[in-house]
């Protein structure tokens, strides 16, 4: 291993090192604040490592990893998400009784798994990263010991993730058995020409890989776990699942199908189209009259992943840029939304029912405005990042001549408007007289408010002046195509 490779690996090293450091610190002395601060430090150092690492296209480290700009971008994004989740979790668990220092180890571990996923160029590292992420998540989801639903959610996720991992790994095995390739880059030219049909076992293998990935991304019909897990998990963990976990898997999907041509063989292509359409529509319909905020956000995340798939439906700079930008906006938005749910949660339960938010604007204007901005971004209203993201996705879809998909996208957006507007509306209603029996929602801490303000600022910046960031995204993300011969 050369020095350059070591530097390239630095983000992973720092992340895992931080996990170990937190563990050791806890072993020495239990201190919630210290564990939190160490975690923060770990995340910040990781981000610095990402920023400082040389980057560029095709920075392979061993057969397993590649630290090109694409990976750097997504590691940075995911680490950022981890950082915000840490801040949220710090406030969230402070409200509860018990010892929560170990949570941060899990968080760092899960983030590490995500980073591995994003940087992997090999089935082995893919699987490892995925499992590191999953195992950490099992524990994180079930972390609120005194809540029944937390355990229930953890167990559901455990079983279903296990099944899906089995699908994934079996699919890999099929592909391997037929092609002998475990590295993505060795798979592009499985057939001599695109007209020639692909070997059926390879196709089946990729099909099963899609099942595994589809589960993680909560695409319809692999989405059934989403609302239950979102609801049962502690709010910061939900935020992490919705963002970092999905983002990492999506990045992996992008890389896998950027390096291989497989996705554009008609059968798989059609599959993706169907998955996208089903996810967009079903997600929106499921959320329509839902009263639980976390479940609404769960269903809406299903729809949003469907939107993302629209951008995925072409292979070009516009598509990958659109996807990355959309994902970024979605990260910021989702973190903000779950952040509010998390920060407003009193110790004994989560602030998850929309009735909790009735009249919020008149009591807590700042929080309500932040939440409104987040919801508007989810709904794709201008001057938020979500809007620019949606425009880019439509652009990408139309560029790929996916007219049916964009029309479905628009329709699903319209359906989803109903529940977004409902949530916003509730916040601006006058608080009802009988609302006194609900426990008061806790106030914001400095760091919590700061995090929210920061996210809002980011979101508005992405919406109002997205140009520079767009350039950055395009330059970084398109490195994923480096080394792939155009076909």
């Amino acid at each position: 291993m050369t020095g350059v490779e070591l530097i390239l690996l630095l983000p992973l090293i720092v992340l895992s090192g931080a996990a170990v450091a937190v563990m050791l610190a806890i072993a020495v002395r239990r201190n919630y604040l210290a564990a939190f601060l160490l975690t923060l430090l770990g995340f910040v150092l990781t981000i610095m490592a990402v920023a400082l690492s040389p980057g560029g296209p095709q920075r392979n480290v061993t057969a397993l990893f590649v630290f090109d700009d694409f990976a750097r971008f997504f590691i940075g994004l995911i680490t950022g998400a981890g950082l915000f989740v840490a801040v949220l979790a710090f406030d969230y668990f402070r409200q509860q009784r018990g010892q929560f220092e170990e949570f941060f180890i899990m968080l760092l571990g899960a983030t590490f798994g995500c980073a591995v996923l994003v940087a992997s160029r090999h089935f082995a590292s893919l699987f490892l990263g995925l499992e590191i992420l999953s195992v950490s998540l099992y524990a994180m989801i079930a972390y609120s010991r005194d809540r029944e639903i937390s355990t229930e959610a953890g167990l559901k996720y455990l079983i279903l993730a296990g099944v899906s991992a089995a699908f994934l790994v079996f699919g890999m095995a099929l592909v391997y058995a037929q092609t002998g390739a475990l590295e993505f880059s060795r798979m592009p030219y499985i057939t001599a020409s695109p007209d020639e049909p692909l070997d059926i076992i390879v196709l089946a293998g990729f099909g099963m890989i899609i099942v595994g990935i589809g589960f993680k991304l909560a695409l319809v019909p692999f989405h059934l776990w989403t609302p239950d897990v979102y609801q049962g998990a502690p709010a910061p963990v939900t935020a992490f699942i919705a963002t970092a976990s999905k983002g990492a898997v999506f990045a992996l999907l992008l890389r896998l199908f950027a390096q291989t041509d497989v996705a554009f063989y008609p059968p798989l292509y059609v599959t993706f189209v169907i998955l996208a359409i089903a996810s967009m529509l079903f997600g929106s319909w499921l959320a329509l009259l839902q009263n639980n905020m976390k479940r609404i956000l769960a269903y809406s995340s299903i729809a949003h992943l469907g939107f993302l798939l629209v951008a995925f439906m072409g292979r070009g700079h516009i598509q990958s840029t659109a996807a990355a930008f959309y994902l970024t906006a979605y990260f910021v938005t989702t973190l903000g939304a779950f952040g509010i749910v998390s920060l407003l949660s009193p110790g004994e339960r989560d602030a998850e029912w929309i009735e909790d938010y009735r009249g919020l604007f008149w009591r807590r204007p700042f929080v309500a405005v932040v939440f409104s901005v987040m919801i508007f971004s989810l709904a794709g209203i201008p001057l938020t990042g979500g809007f620019v993201g949606k425009v880019l996705v439509i652009l990408a879809g139309e560029q790929a001549a996916q007219w049916a998909l964009v029309v479905v996208l628009v329709t699903a957006s319209a359906i989803s408007l109903f529940y977004y507007v409902r949530v916003v509306g509730i916040m601006y209603m006058p608080a009802e007289a009988g609302g006194a029996d609900r426990p008061a929602l806790p106030g914001l801490s400095l760091q919590g408010g700061g995090a929210l303000a920061c996210l809002t600022g980011l979101l508005v910046l992405l919406g109002v002046y997205p140009g520079p960031f767009l350039d950055l995204v395009r330059d970084m993300v398109t490195t994923v195509y480096a080394g792939v011969l155009p076909r």
Partner: protein, 507 residues
């Protein structure tokens, strides 16, 4: 630099009003009023300076004022605003109605006045932005942006069924707007590379778009504008929204928001897709006819005063649609005049309805009647407004309606003759307003106050403007004419275009 100021002033002072309301409610109202009045002054100054006898404008192009700055460079989006006669008049109207609606809600809005004025001013800003945008992307941004504060205006300060109405309004307009977004992006994707990869509106005029694609893209735009206008099967949101909105909301909705639809059709749909418009014309004109008659019919059947007025808007906007699709200078000028005057007259009617509701706490005309002697000033003012809406000569609406019909008749006599029935049905519903509220026997012995001086001033401004536009509309017509000329010439520029204006003229 004046154009961004026109947009920024309400935005900034909206926040100002919100902050000020924490200290003093009156301060918030005055800030809102004065900022909009300032804006109005600025726009009138522009009018006089650039369209008056001694014009500051150079001879180049239709845009007397322009401001351009790159915005989202990677996509070629510019913050490009420009003003010609058409947008100028609409901006003047916007600011005028803005001032009037602030004044009209002076005593109506007691709750949360700060946030109210914030929303009100932001709607105005959004609408001004819509009228000024020359970049399709920017246009869409403003288009969507004005909906959000409007949603709040309805949902927070509306009447009984406000949440339903607000959500309906929001979904209808957003959904249709998304189709426009598809069309805008479609234009960009398909023809952007040939025009330098921008969203610049002017660049797409005369683009060689094949017929089929042009029709699809045109329909994308049309749907968005048709919902706003509204065209009949898509009008369902309007009665609810108008009825439930607070007075200022209704005024802005009827007076301005609907006009953005008309503006969009004039500015974008026809110049961008002349061919497709020609193909679509029979359908659009039929829809217009249905709208004129159905709106009037449904208006007559209402018992809720604001709902009644709302349906009259549908009828009038059908006439506007007819005029736009007839696309000759007479009909277009008529449509613009109608847009202006309908904004004033219907805005005035909603102010009246709001004032009445504030006093009687009801909008049900079945319990009204015989109010003339109780509120003579209100009655007289409403009478004039009702007469305006039945196209009485001497008031501005007549000029608009007459020109639309005249222009349409030149090219499509059958449609014009059908639309002329609108003159009869509009009489029926307009007189019903008067009869039900002011005439007849008193069903309930209302003891209510007549218009206050503030309200009298509002009505005086509206009526004065209507009479002015009715008797000497030439300044307005002259202001619009150059931009209409430009738009009517544009089809000739494109290589694959055929002229749209197939006016037979005299045989």
């Amino acid at each position: 630099m004046m154009l961004p100021v026109l947009i920024l002033v309400p935005l900034i002072f909206g926040v100002g009003a919100y902050v000020a309301a924490r200290v003093s409610v009156a301060a918030a109202r005055w800030i809102a009023l004065l900022s909009l009045a300032g804006n109005l002054g600025l726009s009138i100054y522009i009018w006089i300076a650039y369209f008056g006898p001694i014009s500051l404008a150079g001879v180049t192009g239709p845009w007397v004022l322009e401001w351009d700055a790159p915005w989202i460079a990677p996509l070629g989006v510019h913050f490009h605003v420009g003003m010609d006669g058409l947008s100028l008049l609409l901006v003047v109207l916007t600011n005028l109605l803005g001032v009037l609606s602030v004044a009209a809600s002076w005593t109506e809005i007691e709750e949360r006045p700060g946030f109210f004025h914030l929303n009100l001013l932001w709607v105005v800003a959004g609408i001004v932005g819509v009228f000024l945008s020359l970049d399709l992307f920017l246009f869409y941004v403003f288009w969507e942006l004005m909906l959000v504060p409007m949603y709040f205006l309805i949902a927070i300060w509306g009447h009984e069924n406000r949440v339903y109405a607000a959500v309906k309004f929001f979904i209808f307009t957003q959904f249709s707007g998304l189709f426009m977004l598809l069309a805008i992006v479609g234009l960009y994707v398909l023809y952007g590379s040939q025009t330098g990869g921008t969203f610049e509106y002017a660049n797409y005029i005369g683009a060689p778009i094949p017929r089929g694609i042009a029709m699809v893209l045109m329909l994308g735009f049309f749907v968005a504008f048709a919902v706003k206008l509204p065209v009949v099967p898509l009008h369902s949101w309007l009665p609810d929204a108008h009825t439930e909105a607070p007075t200022a909301g209704s005024v802005i909705l009827a007076g301005l928001l609907l006009k953005t639809g008309a503006y969009g059709l004039i500015r974008f749909v026809v110049p961008l897709f002349p061919w497709a418009v020609a193909d679509f014309r029979p359908a659009a004109m039929t829809l217009a006819l249905i709208g004129i008659l159905y709106g009037a019919l449904a208006a007559y059947g209402q018992t809720d005063l604001k709902r009644l007025i709302a349906y009259t808007s549908i009828s009038h906007m059908g006439l506007v649609l007819l005029g736009i699709f007839a696309w000759n200078s007479l009909a277009l000028q008529g449509a613009v005049m109608l847009v202006l005057c309908h904004g004033l007259a219907t805005g005035g009617l909603f102010i009246f309805a709001g004032a009445l509701q504030e006093r009687t706490k009801t909008r049900d005309i079945r319990v009204m009647g015989g109010l003339w002697s109780t509120v003579p000033r209100m009655s007289g003012a409403t009478m004039v407004l009702a007469l305006a809406s039945l196209d009485l000569p001497g008031l501005g609406n007549f000029i608009g309606g007459f020109l639309v019909l005249l222009g349409t008749f030149r090219a499509y006599p059958v449609y014009a003759a059908g639309a002329s029935l609108g003159l009869i049905v509009s009489t029926i519903y307009s007189l019903r307003i008067i009869q039900a509220v002011f005439h007849g026997e008193k069903t309930v012995d209302w003891k209510i106050a007549d218009l206050h001086p503030r309200e009298v001033a509002i009505m005086a401004v509206i009526i004065g403007a209507l009479i002015w536009l009715g008797l000497y509309p030439q300044p307005a017509l002259d202001t619009v004419q150059p931009s209409l000329n430009v738009m009517q010439q544009t089809p000739a520029r494109g290589p694959a275009q055929t002229p749209v204006d197939a006016t037979p003229g005299a045989p």
